[in-house]
Subunit: 340 residues, 2 copies
Amino acid sequence: MSSKITIHDVARQSGVSIKTVSRVLNREPNVKADTRDRVQAAVAALHYRPNISARSLAGSKAYLIGVFFDNPSPGYITDVQLGAIARCREEGYHLIVEPIDSTAADLEAQIAPMLATLRMDGVILTAPVCDHPVVLAALEREGVPYVRISPGGELDRSASVGMDDRLAAYEMTKHLIGLGHSDIGFIMGHPDHGASRARHQGFMAAMADSGLTVRSERVEQGYFSFRSGFEAAERLLGGEDRPTAIFASNDDMALGVMAVANRLRLNVPETLSVAGFDDTPGAKVVWPQLTTVRQPISAMAGAAADMLLNGVTWEEGDAPPSKLLDFELVIRESTGPAAT
Amino acid sequence: MSSKITIHDVARQSGVSIKTVSRVLNREPNVKADTRDRVQAAVAALHYRPNISARSLAGSKAYLIGVFFDNPSPGYITDVQLGAIARCREEGYHLIVEPIDSTAADLEAQIAPMLATLRMDGVILTAPVCDHPVVLAALEREGVPYVRISPGGELDRSASVGMDDRLAAYEMTKHLIGLGHSDIGFIMGHPDHGASRARHQGFMAAMADSGLTVRSERVEQGYFSFRSGFEAAERLLGGEDRPTAIFASNDDMALGVMAVANRLRLNVPETLSVAGFDDTPGAKVVWPQLTTVRQPISAMAGAAADMLLNGVTWEEGDAPPSKLLDFELVIRESTGPAAT
DNA sequence: CTGAAAGCGCTTACAG
DNA sequence: CTGAAAGCGCTTACAG
């Protein structure tokens, strides 16, 4: 055990009061340069680090940011965490991760106590938790600021960060159409994720704008999992009458499509083009590599943390701050000219 | 903002002192059943939750467990987190995640301040951070207990959790030999990960025990990444003289092997058998699905958290507690009889 | 079985 | 520009 150095040790060593040490630590103004230097020298010499518990008990900050998630893909979770932490570290904040079972009956009883004990400075919410009314209500009741990543609705309820999912899906669909595809299958995402609807809309709009009709049997419901993509693809590709391209609402499902294509000996992209969404690590692992949309996940999480650290506030009646980041189409080998 | 309920409110409501409330909260003995009930009723009625900062400042626990990691696969990180959190929640602890750049020159300066401010009750270490001397030294100097998952050495230095990587690799190799393979390629894992050596040893031992020799050009260095597996496979499969099976030290690299096989039009498993290690989500995503070793990652992390929560201590001179969990061979479609 | 006092290590509000 | 006092909400050590 290292003997614990406190603010009193620093004060003694530098010949000032603990209040002045506190001022230097918190970069408050009105400290003589000379005094500041002496205190900083003592801090360095003693390897002093303020105790986070004492700070948060006495003050108004906890130096803790939370991330709530429910079961999205590991790659997504990890990217969110890395993006948020990078920003938090610059300000001396730490990240608490809380997996949430959003289907639990006693969700309220799970969240509220945790919020009350921890008293975090802010929470970052990912889908589908970011659209869960019970979670949002609990956060608001406890007065914990939160920022949502890619929320599905109620944009005026909180600050948020996202990307234009609709436009990205629109452009990917246009890419396929540009390759000569006119009969394109679409696999929708999980209905609880707001992005699913936006991506579906983008697909439909691009088709309509190109004068193409979408037969209802070309659109399948998926759930963002490999398995759901696999099953949807079996339905889309099972018969003789099949599309020349499939656009899946995320990479995991697109990988399921590739697996079915392999099974049925349909060459990708010669016989079937496949496009995904997210650019997860898996997209580069399949052969041929997947054409997809790169979502700036880390950057979105970093922006969310940024809002929280700077205090997200907005005027009554104004719209809450909302940041839209750029996406990028990543054209790889899984999409090609339509077979004639 | 909800008005904050404190221990004083509970004491007043139930007609006892705050000390007695504290006793009930901490499940200390020597409280009359009737008193306990009254206090618990007040806690429930007021929705009281103890403030974690006050608790940790006054007491000896922080109610915080840390997880340190450096850049392993997202699936691995997520499994570790979920396993640790499940156990922590039962005891009212929370998880702080800290990505560590173990190649950073100022590692010491990154870790030490964090340990001093946070004063966590324990830290879970994953490879390669679990074998980094600077990290271990910092932890020991700050007096923070830690448990390592699958450490590569110095087993007498701390408590640890793991599985028998050597035996698992041995059994997988025996599986291949049992299918008639005698010319087997092996791709080693990242040299900084302790498990890499154990897996390599298991492979070599199984070959030797079966009277098979391993030509040096059949063993390639990998780094646990898809790319390193891809490149190693290009070397192993590039010429006319190639092995009939490849055993990669993890799934990501095995996926790289599959991609090369696809490129070279080598059918798996008819022409080439491929085996991996870890059973990551990706193992079920490729076609054919990957034969691999299931590593109980969540369970290992849960066991590590368990040790920390119960206080890992051991007698001077004794070996620290060490727990070995069971693995499982998962035989899927990527391995088959050797071509004759 | 229960409680009054002290104190954990900081920040806040105030005074000068 | 600086400091003395009070207090954040708990647990510890002690007394009865």
